[in-house]
C-alpha cells in the first residue's frame, strides 16, 4: 500500500500555497493533518500530483475570538481547540462533540479546517459548523470569500471550494445567551464514523436539530419550542426526508430510528432544562 509518486511542497507562507497552485493547478491538494487524505493517497484512491503541507504555516496557525466567533486557522489541530480552556463556555457544542471525534492520537494531528474541507457526511466538525450556522473563509490569490456552512457543504465529500482556493479559517459562533446545546452520537466503536450524530441548539424561541451521518451532508431542521407535543411526528417526517442510506453495517431503517429516538431524547431534555 504505497502511494503513487507525488511532489511534496512545504508551505511556510501562504504565498507558497499560491505558488504551488500556480505550478500544479488543480492537481495540488492541501495537506494539513493528513488523517483522511493520506489514507486515500496510500490506497491510491486519490493520486494528487502534489501535496502542499500547510501544517507548519505560521500565518495559518491562529485561534482567537473575534466578532462573536471562535476563529480557527487552517493549521490548528483539533487537539488544540479541544484543549482550549474556555471552550466549554465559548462554544459548548464543540466541547461536547470533541470526545466523539476519533481518538486523541488522531485529534492531535488532524486539523479542524481539514475535517471541514473533507466534508465526510459522518464527521462531527462539519455537523457542529452547520448546527451553529458557522462559516468558512476561502482564500485565493484574488482575495477571500466567506460562505455560510449551508452553502459550503454541497454533498458527500463535496464542498464549494473552487480551484485555486483553500480554507483559511472557519468561524464558530460563540454561545448565545440563554441558548442550550446538546450532542449525541452512535458509532459502532468508540471513535468510529458516526452512524448518526445529532446536535441540538435551543434558543428562547425555537429548537434546531442537525443530523450527521444520514444524508450526504449535515442537515438541520428547526421547530418552534411549542413543537414538543408534536415532536414524534415531526421527527418521523424529518427522518424520512433525510433519505437515509444503508451500508454493510447499518440499515437505513436503523438510521431513521436513531434520528427519531435520540432526537426525541435530546430535544425533550433540552426543552425541559430551559423551562426549569
Amino acid at each position: 500500500m504505497k502511494p503513487s509518486a507525488f511532489d511534496y511542497v512545504r508551505a511556510d507562507r501562504v504565498q507558497d500555497i499560491f505558488d504551488a497552485f500556480g505550478h500544479y493547478g488543480a492537481e495540488a491538494r492541501i495537506l494539513a493533518g493528513g488523517q483522511s487524505l493520506m489514507a486515500m493517497v496510500n490506497y491510491r484512491l486519490a493520486r494528487p500530483k502534489a501535496l502542499v503541507d500547510i501544517s507548519r504555516c505560521a500565518e495559518l496557525d491562529y485561534m482567537h475570538v473575534r466578532d462573536g466567533h471562535l476563529v480557527v486557522g487552517a493549521a490548528v489541530t483539533q487537539a488544540r481547540v479541544q484543549q482550549r480552556e474556555a471552550l466549554a463556555r465559548e462554544v459548548p457544542l464543540l466541547h461536547l462533540a470533541f470526545p466523539y471525534i476519533s481518538h486523541f492520537q488522531i485529534r492531535s494531528r488532524g486539523t479542524v479546517c481539514g475535517s471541514i474541507a473533507h466534508a465526510d457526511p459522518s464527521a462531527e466538525l462539519p455537523l457542529c459548523l452547520a448546527a451553529l450556522q458557522g462559516s468558512v473563509v476561502l482564500r485565493s490569490k484574488s482575495g477571500r470569500r466567506t460562505l455560510a456552512a449551508d452553502a459550503f457543504f454541497t454533498g458527500m465529500l463535496m464542498t464549494a471550494i473552487e480551484d485555486g482556493e483553500f480554507i483559511e479559517e472557519v468561524r464558530f459562533p460563540l454561545a448565545a445567551e440563554g441558548h442550550r446545546y446538546r450532542f449525541d452520537e452512535v458509532a459502532l466503536r468508540r471513535g468510529d464514523f458516526a452512524i448518526v450524530s445529532l446536535a441540538v441548539v435551543a434558543s428562547a424561541s425555537d429548537v434546531a436539530l442537525t443530523i450527521g451521518g444520514v444524508a450526504d451532508r449535515p442537515v438541520t431542521r428547526r421547530w418552534p419550542r411549542s413543537v414538543a407535543g408534536d415532536l414524534p411526528a415531526a421527527l418521523a417526517a424529518f427522518a424520512w426526508d433525510l433519505q437515509a442510506q444503508s451500508d454493510p453495517h447499518v440499515s437505513a431503517a436503523y438510521r431513521r430510528h436513531l434520528v427519531r429516538t435520540l432526537g426525541q431524547r435530546l430535544i425533550t431534555e433540552v426543552l425541559d432544562e430551559t423551562v426549569s
Binding site: 454533498g155 463535496m158 471513535g191 444503508s246
Partner: protein, 1009 residues
C-alpha cells in the same frame, strides 16, 4: 530512555525476588523475557530483518472479480517501466510448480496463483518484481488482464444447490465432501425422546487479525539447491511438505527460516504458506531474492478467514433437560479452494462434538461447500467457535422451550467428576476435569446471584437485561490423524495411518555451562521463551535468567516434525512438555557425571542453586558449569561409555493421539481443558447497543506454567471472541465483491470496547502431558461469542441471533414498527429523490424520480445522439460508437478527492421512444469495476418530463472494499448528476462542466485538446 530503565529495574527487582524465593519457577507469574526488546522498539519482526543487497520487492496484482475466466494477460507495458525487473504470471507458475495437494479426493486444483480462472476477489493474478515497492505498485496498473466474468456463488446454502455456478467444473458441484457419522444409536434416541429441540445457526466469516501481516523473503538458490525462505509462517509444518510438493522440490531443498518476534499469529499466519510458494517462483523469475510484505488491504481481502458455517443442530431431550442424543448437520463455506489443512476446521472438534456433556448418542453430517470467497484457513479457535455457537445456543433453547433454568440444564448434563478419564462417543479422551467445580467457581466468584437480581430489577423497570452461559471443552495439541476423518475408513487404509502430535525440543549446555534451548513452536507472541526458561530452570536447578531460548527455527538445522508450529494451543502441553523431557535427559547425564565424581548413587543427585550434590552428603557441592564443562573439556574423565558433549533432542508424541478407527472414532486432541463462562449484558432499547455488565470466565487448563501468560491468552481470546460476537465480519456483495477492505469496515474491538473479565482458575493436571498442562490459547475464542449471544438472546427473548450483534441488527431483532413515510412528503421531495436499499447482501438498488424541464421527446433525442450523450455522462471524455447502440467511453468518476478513471462501455436497449429505454454502463479501472443497469421511464408532465429510474448497481474491487460506507451515497450522486445534466441538455442549456482532472492533467502536460 527513562521508561526502559524503569522497566529494567523493575524486572531486576522482580527477578531477584524470584531467585531468593524457594520452590519451583513453573507456576510463577514470571515477567516475559520477550518484553524488554518489544517495549523499547528493539523487537525483530519479519519486516525488520535485513535482506541481502540486491533483494527486490514484490507487489501482487489481484483479481477484481469473484469469478471470471482470464482471457489474456499482457505484461509488456509493465515490464518496460524503469525499475521493474520481472512479472510472474500463471504461465510461469504452470511451468515451475504444481497445484497444492488437497485434503479431499476431488478433481480440483489450487495453484499459488490463478492460472486460467479467478475464483475470489483478491486472488493473485500476477506478481510484479521491482527495485522498490512503490515502483512495483505503479507497474500493477500496467499489467493488462482481460477477464470474462462468470456468475458467482456466494451464499453457501445457494452454492450447494444444483442451480449454482460451479467453481471447479470437473467436480461438478460446489459440495466437495459430504460425510455422515453415527455414534451410539442416535436414531433410536430421537425416536424415544420426550422432546426434540432444534436450531439453525449461521456463523459468520471472520478472522483473528494480527497487527503484523504476512512477510516472505525468498531466494532461488544456484546449483539446484532449491529455495531459501525467511517468513512468518507459523506451522503446522505438515504444510512444509505441501509447499515443497507444490514447488516440485524435495523438502530438504525448501529451507524455511524464522525470526525472533511476531506481531501476532492467531492461526492466520498458517496461510503465509501459499505466498511462500508464490514468492519462491517470483524469486526464480527475477533471478534475485524477492521480498513481499503484505499490506492491510491485502490481508483483509485475501489472506485467510475462518469458514462461515451453517449448522442445523437437534437434541433429543427428556423433560428434565437431560440430553439423550445430539444431531448436527454442518456445512462449512471454505471459500474458493480447499487449502491445506482444510477441511480441518470441520474436523478439529470431531472427537468432542458432545462438548462438556455426557450424552452418548451422536449423529454428525459434515459438508464442505466452495464459494467465490477467500480460501479459509486456520483461525484461532479453529472450528470451536462455530461448533459451540450451535451447541451452547441449543442448550439455552432447550431451557427456554422446556421452561427450565439454563444453568440447571447445563449442570444436569455435565460429565461427572468421577468419570475421568472420559471417552466421548466420537472419541475424545478427556483425561481430567471437575466441571461442576469450575462452574461453581464461576458462579461464586462472578457473583451470579447479584447478576440475577440485577436482571430482575432491570426487567421490572422495562429495561433489557440478559444472562448467558457457555460450557466449553477446549481441545489442545491436535492429533494429526483427525484430518483423515474426512476420508472413509477404506480410503484411510489405502493412504496409510496418520496420527500423533509430535513436539521436539533441544536442550544443550555449552563449554561454560550455559544453557540454550531450541523449541519447535515458532514465535507467535505468547511468551514461549519465558515459560520454556522456567521449565528448564526447575529441572537443572538454575534460574530462568540462566537459560537462553531460541525460537528461530531453521528447517535445515533444527529438529522438527509435521506437527511443529504455533497452533492448536500445543505449547504448554506438548512443546513445554518435550522441553521438560529433554531437560530431564540432560539432568540424567549430568547426574551420572556427578555421581561418578561424588562417589554417590546417581539417583541421590540433586540440582539446586547452580550446584549438584548428593542428598546423602549435601555439604559437598559441585558447580553446575564444572560438571557440564567436563563433557566438553575433558571427555576422558567422563564415566565409561558416556558420549562427550551435552545436547539432547527429544521428539515427544502423546500415545493417546491414535489414528481414527474403522468406526471413525477419533481422539482428535491430546488434551482437553474446560471453560465455564457467564456473561451479563444490558441492551439499550433506544440504540440497540450491547453493554457487557460483567463477564466471568472460569478455566481449567491443568497445571499453569505461568499464570500471567495464561491470563494473557484468556484476555486476548476474550477480546477476539467479543469482536466476533459484536463487530467482526468479512462481508461480501451478492456478486462476490469484497466489502471489508479497511479497518474502518472490518471492525475489531479496541481497548475501549473490551471490559476486564473476571478470571478464575481450577487446575486438574492432564495425565497425558509431561507437565500436566493443557492448552489455553483458544478457549475464549470458542466460549465468548456464544456466551455473549446467549446473554443477548436472553435479554431480547429471541431464538435466532446472528453474529455479529451490531446495533443495527439488534434493533432489527427488537422489531419495533416504523412510522409510515409521509407520502405527501415524498412527492414534495426536491428535484431528485432516490431510495437506496441493500437488503442484507443484495446488490445496490437505486430508484427515484427527477423532474426535467423538457418534453420526453427532447430528452429521448439527447439519449440517442452520441455527442449529446457524451456531454451528459458525468466525467465522460472520448465517447466512441461501437455499434448502433453501444459506445466505448472513458469516464472519470470522482467523489471529492477520490477519482477513478474507467474504460467504460455504454449500452442502450429496450428502446421505446419516447417512453423509455434501458441504459447500462460497465467500466473497468485500476480501482476495480463498476456497472449499472436499469430502466429509465419518461412521462410527460406539466412543464416537462418526469423521469423515473430504477437501477441495479454493482461495484467491485478496491472501491467496494474500502468505500462500502459511502457506496450508496456515491451511486446516488452519480445518478443524480447524470439525470440533472440530461434535463439541462434536453432543455437547451449548455453544460459547462468543470474540466476533469484528467483533461487538466493532459493540458498541463501539453497533450490535451
Amino acid at each position: 530512555m527513562v521508561g526502559y530503565e524503569y522497566y529494567s529495574r523493575k524486572a531486576r527487582d522482580m527477578s531477584s525476588e524470584l531467585v531468593n524465593e524457594s520452590g519451583p519457577h513453573v507456576g510463577r507469574r514470571a515477567l516475559r523475557v520477550e518484553d524488554a526488546a518489544l517495549l523499547t522498539g528493539r523487537g525483530h519482526y519479519a519486516d525488520d530483518v535485513g535482506v541481502k543487497p540486491g533483494t527486490l520487492q514484490a507487489a501482487i496484482l489481484r483479481a477484481p472479480h469473484a469469478h471470471a475466466e482470464i482471457v489474456s494477460i499482457d505484461t509488456a507495458a509493465a515490464e518496460q517501466l524503469p525499475g521493474v525487473r520481472a512479472v510472474l504470471t500463471g504461465a510461469d507458475v504452470r511451468q515451475w510448480a504444481a497445484p497444492f495437494p488437497v485434503g479431499v479426493h476431488q478433481p480440483m486444483e489450487h495453484w499459488c496463483m490463478a492460472i486460467d480462472k479467478v475464483r475470489y476477489v483478491g486472488e493473485p493474478v500476477a506478481v510484479v518484481i521491482a527495485e522498490d515497492r512503490y515502483l512495483a505498485e505503479d507497474a500493477l496498473d500496467f499489467v493488462e488482464v482481460q477477464y470474462r466474468q462468470l456468475p458467482a456463488a456466494v451464499d453457501p446454502e445457494a452454492a450447494a444447490g444444483a442451480q449454482a455456478p460451479v467453481l471447479h467444473e470437473a467436480v461438478g458441484s460446489n459440495v466437495v465432501t459430504d460425510r455422515h457419522f453415527s455414534y451410539g444409536d442416535p436414531d433410536a434416541a430421537f425416536e424415544a425422546a420426550e422432546h426434540c429441540v432444534s436450531l439453525t445457526i449461521h456463523y459468520p466469516r471472520n478472522s483473528t487479525t494480527p497487527i503484523e501481516g504476512f512477510v516472505v523473503v525468498a531466494e532461488y538458490l544456484a546449483g539446484g539447491e532449491g529455495y531459501d525462505v525467511l517468513s512468518n509462517f507459523q506451522g503446522p509444518f505438515a504444510i512444509h511438505t505441501v509447499v515443497a510438493r507444490a514447488l516440485k522440490v524435495g523438502s530438504s531443498r525448501l529451507r524455511l527460516r524464522f525470526v525472533k518476534d511476531s506481531g501476532g499469529s492467531f492461526g492466520v499466519k498458517q496461510a503465509v504458506s501459499t505466498y511462500v510458494a508464490l514468492l519462491c517462483l517470483a524469486a526464480r523469475k527475477a533471478g534475485a531474492p524477492v521480498k513481499w510484505v503484505e499490506d492491510r488491504y491485502e490481508h483483509l481481502m485475501a489472506s485467510a478467514a475462518a469458514p462461515n458455517r451453517v449448522t442445523t443442530i437437534e437434541a433429543a431431550v427428556q423433560a428434565d433437560g437431560t440430553l439423550a442424543a445430539l444431531r448436527y448437520d454442518q456445512m462449512d463455506d471454505c471459500g474458493a479452494y480447499l487449502r491445506a489443512p482444510e477441511p480441518a476446521t470441520l474436523y478439529r472438534m470431531h472427537g468432542i462434538m458432545t462438548g462438556a456433556y455426557r450424552v452418548r448418542n451422536l449423529a454428525v453430517r459434515n459438508r464442505v461447500v466452495l464459494t467465490n470467497k477467500t480460501p479459509s484457513a486456520l483461525v484461532r479457535g479453529f472450528g470451536g467457535p462455530q461448533m459451540y455457537f450451535a451447541l451452547e445456543r441449543l442448550m439455552q433453547r432447550i431451557a427456554v422451550e422446556l421452561d427450565l433454568d439454563p444453568l440447571e440444564v447445563i449442570r444436569r448434563n455435565l460429565i461427572q467428576p468421577d468419570a475421568f478419564p472420559y471417552r466421548a462417543p466420537a472419541g475424545a479422551l478427556i483425561g481430567s476435569g471437575n466441571y461442576q467445580e469450575s462452574l461453581a467457581l464461576a458462579v461464586g466468584r462472578g457473583n451470579l446471584d447479584e447478576l440475577l437480581q440485577r436482571r430482575q430489577a432491570a426487567r421490572a423497570a422495562g429495561r433489557l437485561y440478559g444472562i448467558g452461559y457457555a460450557a466449553v471443552v477446549e481441545p489442545s495439541i491436535s492429533n494429526m490423524g483427525y484430518i483423515t476423518t474426512v476420508m472413509t475408513a477404506e480410503a484411510r487404509a489405502k493412504a496409510g495411518p496418520k496420527n500423533g502430535a509430535i513436539a521436539s525440543a533441544t536442550v544443550s549446555v555449552d563449554p561454560l555451562g550455559c544453557v540454550t534451548v531450541i523449541i519447535d513452536s515458532v514465535p507467535g507472541g505468547q511468551g514461549h521463551r519465558t515459560a520454556t526458561a522456567q521449565v528448564v530452570a526447575d529441572v537443572l536447578g538454575l534460574v530462568p535468567e540462566d537459560i537462553i531460548v531460541n525460537t528461530e527455527l531453521d528447517t535445515q538445522k533444527d529438529a522438527w516434525s509435521i506437527a511443529a508450529g504455533n497452533y492448536s494451543s500445543r505449547f504448554a502441553g506438548a512443546v513445554a512438555g518435550s522441553v521438560h523431557v529433554a531437560a530431564l535427559r540432560i539432568r540424567e547425564k549430568m547426574a551420572q557425571i556427578a555421581a561418578d565424581t561424588l562417589q554417590a548413587p546417581p539417583d541421590t543427585i540433586q540440582f539446586a542453586g547452580g550446584t549438584l550434590y548428593s542428598s546423602e552428603a549435601p555439604d559437598r557441592r559441585l558447580r553446575f558449569h564444572r560438571v557440564a564443562g567436563l563433557t566438553h573439556w575433558s571427555p576422558g574423565s567422563l564415566p565409561a561409555d558416556m558420549q562427550p558433549g551435552l545436547r539432547e533432542t527429544v521428539f515427544w508424541s502423546p500415545p493417546q493421539a491414535e489414528a481414527p478407527d474403522d468406526k471413525d472414532v477419533i481422539n482428535s486432541s491430546a488434551a482437553y481443558g474446560f471453560i465455564f463462562d457467564i456473561c451479563a449484558v444490558e441492551v439499550d432499547r433506544a440504540t440497540g447497543q450491547v453493554r457487557i455488565d460483567r463477564y466471568v470466565t472460569s478455566h481449567d487448563a491443568g497445571c499453569l506454567l505461568n499464570p500471567a501468560l495464561a491470563e494473557g491468552q484468556i484476555r486476548g481470546g476474550f477480546a477476539q471472541g467479543l469482536g466476533a460476537a459484536l463487530l467482526e465480519e468479512y462481508r461480501y456483495g451478492a456478486d462476490g465483491s469484497f466489502l471489508s477492505g479497511t479497518l474502518a469496515d472490518y471492525l475489531m474491538p479496541t481497548a475501549c470496547e473490551v471490559p476486564e473479565p473476571i478470571i478464575v482458575h481450577l487446575e486438574t493436571p492432564s495425565p497425558y502431558t509431561p507437565l500436566g498442562a493443557k492448552g489455553i490459547g483458544e478457549g475464549n475464542n470458542m466460549s465468548t461469542p456464544v456466551c455473549i449471544a446467549n446473554a443477548v438472546a436472553d435479554a431480547l427473548g429471541v431464538a435466532d441471533v446472528r453474529l455479529p450483534l451490531t446495533p443495527s441488527r439488534v434493533h432489527a431483532l427488537l422489531a419495533e414498527p416504523e412510522p409510515e413515510p409521509p407520502s405527501a412528503e415524498a412527492s414534495r421531495a426536491p428535484a431528485a429523490s432516490a431510495d437506496g436499499s441493500r437488503a442484507g447482501r443484495d446488490t445496490l438498488r437505486m430508484s427515484g424520480t427527477v423532474q426535467l424541464a423538457a418534453p420526453p421527446e427532447r430528452v429521448y433525442a439527447v439519449l440517442m445522439d452520441p455527442d449529446a450523450l457524451a456531454s451528459v455522462i458525468p466525467g465522460c471524455h472520448a465517447l466512441e460508437q461501437v455499434d448502433e447502440h453501444t459506445y466505448r467511453a472513458e469516464v472519470t468518476i470522482g467523489i471529492g478527492v477520490v477519482k477513478a478513471r474507467y474504460q467504460a462501455q455504454v449500452t442502450l436497449s429496450d428502446l421505446d421512444p419516447p417512453h423509455g429505454l434501458s441504459l447500462g454502463g460497465k467500466g473497468m479501472s485500476a480501482l476495480g469495476t463498476a456497472q449499472g443497469s436499469g430502466t429509465v421511464r419518461l412521462e410527460p408532465m406539466a412543464g416537462g418530463t418526469r423521469l423515473a429510474y430504477d437501477y441495479d448497481i454493482a461495484v467491485s474491487g478496491k472501491v467496494a472494499a474500502v468505500g462500502s460506507r459511502m457506496l450508496e451515497g456515491a451511486a446516488k450522486v452519480i445518478l443524480q448528476q447524470l439525470f440533472e445534466r440530461l434535463g439541462r441538455k434536453a432543455s437547451g442549456e449548455t453544460i459547462v462542466a468543470r474540466p476533469s482532472w484528467w483533461r487538466r492533467l493532459l493540458a498541463f502536460l501539453g497533450i490535451g485538446r
